[in-house]
Amino acid sequence: MQLDKVYEPGRFEPQWAQRWVEEQLFVASNDSDKPTYSLVAPPPNVTGALHVGHCFEIAMTDITMRWRRMCGDNVLWLPGTDHAGIATQMLVERSLKAQGIDRREIGREKFLEHVWAWKEKYGGKIVEQFKRIGASCDWTRERFTMDPGLSRAVREAFVRLYEMGLLYRGEYMINWDPGTLTALSDLEVVYEQQKGHLWHMRYPVAGEPGKFVVVATTRPETMLGDMAVAVHPDDDRYKGLHGKSVILPIVGREIPVIADGFVDPEFGSGVVKITPAHDLNDFGAAQRHGLDILTILDEEAKINQNGGEYAGLDRYEARKKIVARLEGEGLIEKIEDYVNNIGKSQRSGLAVEPRVSMQWFMKTKGLADRGIASVESGEMDILPDQWKRNYFEWMTNIRDWCVSRQLWWGHRIPAWYCNKCGEMMVLREDPSFCDKCGGKDLKQDPDVLDTWFSSGLWPFSTMGWPDKTKDLDVFYPTSC
């Protein structure tokens, strides 16, 4: 028995990696007497490349899978990839832009053809890398979140959730990415500490010449959309202001002083401006006090037509000009240094704008409670133990999930609107006329679903759900 003198793994590793796949060594049987051990691998982005984090996860998983198999289990390790809506769309957009093609010019259908072509060309890379490092997956069961079967599962889940009353559509404040022009979920926003300022601005009290209230803000440019100023109801300094109004500088609009418990008397001067269209807390306050909502920023975070002479300016440009003008008018009391916690888009890196818009949401409270109960009862285990606390905390504080995205690449929302009577229909099959008025002028919702909507179904959509399949019977719920 002779071995090469020098250990050169490059001479045999690729061959073995290939043979393991070709000879289908790791294909699971759904007709076996052996104990089952199953895992549906979290799908990496189809356009991605393997990084050390993946590698670490694969190494650990593969140890368990190979060990279980050798110990006599019927092992299923189901692999696949995620269409990664926003990431992929951005990548393709960028490449088209380099060729002088604008997606808005070529339109939705043509653009999607480009994305599919891109996916066919580059999508295989990460899968090949998985194979190369020896992941003992069942490649005969490989899936992609936009496969026909999985897309059917997404549509079925959407309709069911809608029928269960867990999906609703409404105008709410969401995280808006002014770079990629879409709503983002809380998970797609990364918070960073950033040095900024706190501007103390003077708003004249209406009917009392020479008297001002001082309002502290980190975003002076949004004053164009102020609909009130607020004080804490118990703040003795400002009790005299209750029921009065102030004149919004530059704009000249008269806005009320409201008293609301959410105001922190310790922050700045204790008086805050209320900009319902551009701040989550202010949005809530406006709803409590019946204030109108005035949007002053457009999708790209530029001042819109409501901003008068500032219309068309970028938010930071407008900030400079507005502060300069207020200073000129003697309406800046002081400027303090201040460290801000700024939410940035994971994708574009730009500061996210809270924005009121019409979106689809999923109610999470009831499901989160069930999720908590299943860990408390031991039905689902989280290891190491100390992570259970994070899970509980996260599930307890979860907000309704914004599932719609203003993108083209992804699962399109199966909702139709009748242009004649305004009826909305959420359906398993595409409709040809309106349920209510019989009108044939229907429009499908232009938005797609958050990638995580399909990822959420991944453990069972990959096994053929909603059909009752043998695989689901044998391998679901998965072992880990």
Partner: protein, 395 residues
């Protein structure tokens, strides 16, 4: 996923969720493109082999904790893979010289070591390695079941390198001779090697597959891949306390003599003589039966004596035995002066470190890693001083 699973299937989608840490660089920094400290796993795989990359990733990760990864670490595990490769290569060459073909038992898990055809007894080192394999199997199975991948990897590393290569192959080597054909002793060795490869397979799938295929090439009915064989399990009654004790004595003696040679600059093949004192009959019996191994592995001839060594006359005190080695008078003298000089230097260096560590102003300013490295150095000086003092006492 949990919420969707509950909403759509009325069940949790998975029974267990494992949270793992991040992969960080050698300075414990998060890897990021902007910092430029990213390690490309495919590049590392091409350079060092996948098995080394996998080993490096899992070996430093306690459950849920972060992993520290550097190219050096990966290179370290490539050295390990290389060690395994060379060990098997050596076995293969020796097998050819013996005029035998690769062989492995057909019923892998039932195999027990066979007796030497002449003596009718199973050689002690074969009994020992099968006992050690059994313990390694027990530990690795336990760790892997509990997702303690770092323990799994470290256990395999230690077993393969420190026991299989450093001792088992070294001992076996003494018994190889040309043209013997496939003896029972050869069968024992090949079966042990085969079992060890299966044990190592989940962590290092590639090298084990490559080697296992060659080893089992003549075995009828073998699996298509090592991945489809069974995992070694511990079995009641396989641990052999007697063999482990005997080889333990052998290891202690050989290591002590080798250390003595290193410290005293005595050439490896210059013959030494000495005494092994033990009140226990079985230890004395090992000392007598392993005379050949002592000679071949440490070039020392030992006389077994009942009882304890006289005061100051022992080189090594062990709960079970004392070891004393004779040295020529002139060697003792030159050695003594050399060691005394070394001792003085070490004392000086140690005092310097102590002074630094006693200096409050310095401690307040110095970075943590600098202080830690001084402490490490001091500990190293102190252990060297201790060792030299002991040697001086015995001289």
């Amino acid at each position: 996923m949990t919420m969707m699973g509950l909403a759509m299937t009325d069940e949790v989608p998975f029974r267990k969720v494992l949270i793992h840490g991040l992969v960080r660089d050698a300075d414990k920094q998060k890897m990021s493109k902007t910092k430029g400290n990213v390690i490309d796993p495919i590049e590392m795989t091409d350079k060092y082999g996948t098995d080394a990359v996998r080993f490096a990733l899992v070996a430093s990760a306690g459950q849920g904790s972060d992993v520290v990864l550097s190219e050096d670490r990966i290179a370290g595990y490539a050295t390990f893979a290389n060690k395994v490769w060379n060990a098997v290569r050596f076995v293969g060459l020796s097998l050819e010289k013996a005029g035998a073909e690769p062989w492995t038992p057909e019923n892998l898990d039932e195999f027990e070591p066979l007796p030497n055809e002449e003596t009718g007894e199973v050689p002690i080192e074969d009994r020992w390695i099968f006992s050690r394999l059994d313990e390694a199997a027990q530990l690795v199975n336990e760790h892997t079941a509990k997702f303690r991948y770092h323990e799994t990897a470290n256990c395999l590393y230690q077993f393969f390198w420190r026991e299989f290569c450093d001792w088992y192959i070294e001992l076996k080597k003494l018994r190889f001779s040309e043209g013997t054909g496939l003896t029972n002793e050869w069968k024992n060795m090949l079966a042990a090697l085969e079992r060890a490869l299966r044990l190592l397979h989940p962590v290092a799938p590639f090298i084990t597959e490559e080697l296992w295929q060659r080893l089992t090439v003549n075995t009828p009915g073998r699996a298509r891949s090592i991945a489809l064989t069974s995992y070694p399990q511990a079995k009641a009654g396989r641990r052999d306390a007697e063999a482990e004790r005997a080889v333990g004595v052998l290891q202690d003696v050989v290591s002590a003599v080798r250390n003595l040679r290193a410290e005293m600059n005595i050439p490896p093949r210059e013959a030494l003589h000495g005494m092994i004192y033990s009140p226990q009959a079985d230890v004395r019996a090992v000392a007598r039966s392993q005379a050949d191994a002592f000679d071949r592995l440490a070039a020392v001839e030992l006389k077994a004596v009942e009882g304890h060594a006289p005061e100051g006359g022992a080189l090594l005190h062990n709960p079970d035995f004392d070891l004393a080695v004779d040295l020529p008078e002139d060697q003792k003298k030159s050695l003594r002066s050399k060691l005394e000089k070394q001792l003085a230097n070490l004392e000086k260096a140690a005092n310097g470190s102590r002074k630094q560590l006693g200096n409050e102003a310095f401690l307040a300013k110095a970075p943590e890693n600098v202080v830690a490295s001084i402490k490490e150095k001091l500990a190293d000086y102190e252990s060297q001083i201790e060792r030299i003092r002991k040697t001086l006492e015995t001289l």
